[in-house]
Structures are given as structure tokens and as C-alpha cells.
Subunit: 109 residues, 4 copies
Amino acid sequence: MATIKELTDIIVRFTEERDWDQFHNPKDLALALSIEASELNQLFLWKPAEQANREKVKEELADVLNYAFLLADKYKFDISQIILDKIQQNAKKYPVSKAKGTAKKYNEL
Amino acid sequence: MATIKELTDIIVRFTEERDWDQFHNPKDLALALSIEASELNQLFLWKPAEQANREKVKEELADVLNYAFLLADKYKFDISQIILDKIQQNAKKYPVSKAKGTAKKYNEL
Amino acid sequence: MATIKELTDIIVRFTEERDWDQFHNPKDLALALSIEASELNQLFLWKPAEQANREKVKEELADVLNYAFLLADKYKFDISQIILDKIQQNAKKYPVSKAKGTAKKYNEL
Amino acid sequence: MATIKELTDIIVRFTEERDWDQFHNPKDLALALSIEASELNQLFLWKPAEQANREKVKEELADVLNYAFLLADKYKFDISQIILDKIQQNAKKYPVSKAKGTAKKYNEL
């Protein structure tokens, strides 16, 4: 199993070998991420969740992660750190005592 | 630095403690991911890439990753494996010889 | 030039003739609208605005409008009324004296 | 009931009075449209379609239409014409005989 650091290196090398870095300003990377997220959603359109094609979900989710890792690299974010920081922040915002079983506040996450 | 497995465990425990798993069918998780991707894009709206607020980019990107990890866990995907598989697939689709420096085909990625 | 009412009638008839109304619950219609908006954005990815293909912009924007009209019809909203109501609301939120030339507050629109 | 032309004039005047036209290049307008579409979708997140707040749907749909009209105006598209053209195109792509009652091909619309 590759680490986050190894995956990032592989993804970055892939784009560098193709000289694609010239297109990868953060604004367009965020847009690309959003477009892949939309393609992921398309797999669920007009149908219940369980009818989505698992193989295609895998591919579209990988595309989302690809751009998320590229964007993190662009800003030199440590992916594991920003996830842990956000969870800590959410833990304060949604204490178990208040948030348990309700999607109400959660919706504004 | 936490591993992908450790991060996933932390994220899953966070939602379980709040009984939020009941809301987390794959269709809504994909939708939530897309909404967070859109909030990330909002940080770049009406401005050039370099004027986006770095701290907020960090938070919104973490939200995207949070849902990406939850969705992967829901399908029991190995995140590092699906990323590596997709890169291999893209390497065939965009060989360096053809793809170098052009965003043309890349746009359809 | 067709009126909003005439366009809505044509769009609704198109879906009824194909028995597609069964798929058109508001949640999936909103999702479809979002997916079309994303396809519209894809035309601008990795390039400056003026390089987007005008003909394709036309088609994707039409797809967005198609779902916007279907969703409005589903809720029996009067499209011209909801647009006028929102403008009135925005006029209060963004008075000319404060909003002129700044995208700051506007960003939260 | 206002016509499409009247609505467009009102929307354009609103942005001109605030000098917001400087931000309204087609790429950012498309992005804004997509962000509003996402806010519309957020109203349906974690819940069945019928639990979405009707008043908020009205507002977010109006925001989507607002940017769709601004983008159409930017390109000098005739909104009723582009909708009618797309329907004609879709009628060829999805003839009633083949498309009736199936979301299969429709999903790729």
C-alpha cells in the first residue's frame, strides 16, 4: 500500500512528464476537481444509490482524489495534517452530545 | 504523519460517534463531496488564483477529502490502489509522446 | 420568440412523451441541473474564457435552462416571479452605495 | 408576467448599477452558476426530495437562472432560441420510440 507521500510523488511526476503543470493553476485544479466530482454524481443520477456502477464509482473517485492531491501539492499542504485539523475543528463544532443522530446542523458543515 | 488507513479510521469513528452513518448512503456522500468541491471553487470566484485565501482552501480541501475517504470506505475501496489503477489507465490513454504540452485530449480526462 | 410559459410547455411535453417524468423527482432534477452546469464549466477548463467553444456553451447552457425550467414546473414556480423576487431581495442586500465595484460581499451572494 | 427580454434587461441593469460587469467574464459566470446549482443541491442533501425547503429552493433556483441569463446575455444568445434548438437536437437523439420509459441513454444527455 502506497503512502500519501508516495502517491503524491507519482501523481506529480505523471503531470510533469506531460508538461501539464502549465495548466495546473489552483483555480483550474479546483475546477477540475469539481468537474470530476460531478461525473461521480452522474453515476447516481435517476437511480437509487445501490444501482450505481461500482467500477465506475472507483474510477471517478480516483479522478477526484487525483486533483485533490495535486491541489494539496500545489499549496504544499500536508494532506494528513489538514484532514486531522479539520476533524478537530468539526469535533468542536459538532460535539457528540449535540450532533448525535441529527443531520440538521450537520447540513451546514 | 497519519497513514490513509489511520485517517479513514478516524473519519469513520467521527461519524459513528454522531450516528451520522444513517445519512451516509453513497448517493448523498457523492453529493456532499460535490458540494464541498463547489465551496472550494467559491474561494476562487471573481478573482485570479493567487488571491484565494490559503487557509480557507485548506479547510475546504479537507472537507472534500473527508467525503472522498468516507465514500471509499463505504465501498471498501483501497484508496492507494484505486489511485494507482487510474494512473496506470491514464498512462495508456495519454502516452507522453502524444500528450506532452497539450491540454486538448486532456480536457476530456 | 417563445415565452417562458410556451418553453415550459414544450419541455414538459418532451419529457412526458418519453415517460421520463418518473425519474424527475426534485432531488434528481437539481442534481441533473448541477451536472449540466459542470459540463458547461468543463468548456472553460485549462483555458481563458475567450477560448471556450461558443457553440458548445450554447448547448450546455440550454441543458442547464432545460432542467431549471423542469424544476420550476415541478414546484409550480412562476419563473419570472421568482427571478424578480430574488432581484428585489438582492437589491436590499447589496445597495448600490455599498456594493459598487466590490466583489467582496458579492462573493457571498 | 415579465418576458425573457424584460428579465434579462432587469438583471443586466442590476449588475451595471453595481459595476459588477468587470467580474463577469464567461468563465467566472459559468463558475458562479455552478456554485448556485450546488447550493440548490445542498437543500436536498441527506434527505428525501419532499423534505427540501420550498422557499429556499425558490431562491437558489432564482440564483441559478440569474447567472444563466447573464451568461446568455454575455454571448448575445437568444434564450428561447437556444432552448428550442437543444430540444430539437434531443428529439433526434432520443426518439420517443427508443427513449420511452428508459433512463439508460438519457443518463448520458
